[in-house]
């Protein structure tokens, strides 16, 4: 639980579709208790403290290459700070210094 904020939940709201499904599946692999709520046209994904989207996991679900910059196509709202957004990881966290997960070896 991050002590930096009163309500330590981060999350994204995504336009429903293939990319959304792949991102949600990738996140659920890491955080099985994430909250996933369907609303008309959209999916709201909320998790405690921090959320890391690994491009490689999204690619596995999509079955094709996926450029993390294209996340901007489908994310409509978010809570938390984007503290990292590069080729490998997109990190959403209430800790402004959060630099993401250690690389998989």
């Amino acid at each position: 639980m991050s002590t930096k904020v009163q309500r330590s939940v981060v999350g994204i709201e995504l336009m429903a579709g293939e990319e959304c499904d792949a991102i949600v599946s990738a996140v659920l692999d890491d955080i099985p208790h994430a909250s996933v709520v369907q609303v008309p046209g959209m999916v709201q994904l909320d998790v405690p403290d921090r959320l890391v989207i690994h491009a490689s996991a999204v690619e596995t679900y999509l079955g094709r290459e996926w450029d993390t910059r294209d996340l901007n196509q489908v994310v409509s709202a978010y809570r938390g700070y984007f503290t990292r957004w590069d080729e490998e990881q997109v990190v959403l966290s209430w800790d402004a210094e959060d630099r993401g997960d250690a690389p998989n070896v």
């Binding site: 309500r7 709201e13 609303v39 008309p40 046209g41 901007n72 709202a77 700070y81 209430w94």
Partner: protein, 488 residues
Amino acid sequence: MKPAEQYQRLTHSLHWDPTYVSEDAYIPEEWRTSCTMPDWKKFNDPFQILFEDYVRIQAEKEDKFHAVRDAGARFGHIGRVDPRWVEAMKSFNTALTYSEYYNYRGHVRVARFAPAPAIRIASMVQAMDERRHAEEAIYQARDYVKHHKSGFLLPRDRITFFERHWYFQGDRSFFEDLITTDPIEAIIGTNLVFETAFTNLLFIAAPAAGVANGDYGFGQAHMTIQSDETRHMALGQAVARAMLQNDDMNLELIQDWVDKWFWRCHRLLLAVVGPVLDYFPKVKPISYREAFQRYVVEDFIQGYVSELSQFGLKPPRHLDQALSELEHGSHTIWRELYASRKSLWFDVHQPTAEDIEWMNEKYPSFDAVHGDYWRAVADGADMQADSLPMICDICHFPCTFPEPKTAVALPVDYEGDRYWFCSEGCKWIFEREASKYKRTIEPSALLLGDKDPAWVAQFLNISPDGTPLGGTAAPEGYFPAMPVPATI
């Protein structure tokens, strides 16, 4: 070259300090920020978007939007949008078209006058976004005109309503205020407060309602608009953080700007978006109060504001007043609209039994406060207002909050004139910068009070049966204080 290096090259190295002209000539004093930073050049936009990526991503967003529009025309979805929702669009789409265009103008100005190269580039990109948003709203209006049997509005009617009708002067004055501020105030007001806390109500909650009522084009347009908003929010959060972190002197200014724009956003959205969630749609996926709780209270106040409290930022000074207005706000404004429905160009319906059941479920004191009003209407009472509502001199919405029976109107005397305010929040904003907000045009109640009905009808662009007169011709003797630019 790595994207981060490329970003540095294409952002920071495109900036230069003027040497042929003085700084005063380069940035006139009234456009120079009062905030301070040890080194503005060190500030970085978290998104660090490269222009070539921007163009590619935005082109794809546009392709997807136009594909949905095309499908809507081809398969007839647009014609089948629920008529009540199209009435919402006669109000909301008109407000949005010009609001987005104002935002475009505002960001072009920030791109020119902001002190940090990274803010200037991000604002330039944002100006292009805002322009796109205005254009999407216009495409949507065109689709309703062409494919829906609701008598949608033509551009000349839309601009006339926006420029003159009392219901839109709140929206108009909000944006005229926003685009004439200190450039860092513009970022705090737009990117931190309006876009981080409030645009989710416009572009997520409202499209959910649109989709639920068959308007897929609206859903698609607004979700892609909101996807641009993610970049804007990140800029606002980064600017606020950098100002607070780097110089204690900035705290008071940032706090004042957060307080001011929080109240202005609250009033504008309650009055314009409240009805779009709670009244117009037949199928209502989320109430205004629930959406406010999720996006404004949980995300903005309990998230961003509480994170920034480590640097001394406090919750907005009129937060409690805003919260206490939510129970009655949208019902109060709907009653105000209902009473002046003869001078409105969209249909203000009497809530159905189903609507009332939903209200009672979402707003527990609805029946106690508004039940009798609608029972009287059901029994045949006319409820027509015989005069225009008394308007607040800051927000330009009627002095009717928190609800008609306990409405507040607070006076302030300034330079020989008496001003009236709907709330402590609006009064505080006026007193902080009275010279900016002093009256330059008669409020519509006075302007129209002694005029003959034909003059009033032409001014409001509404014939007695409620259809637009179809023109921007102003009646004799009317000069707008600041005409809305007719570029779009």
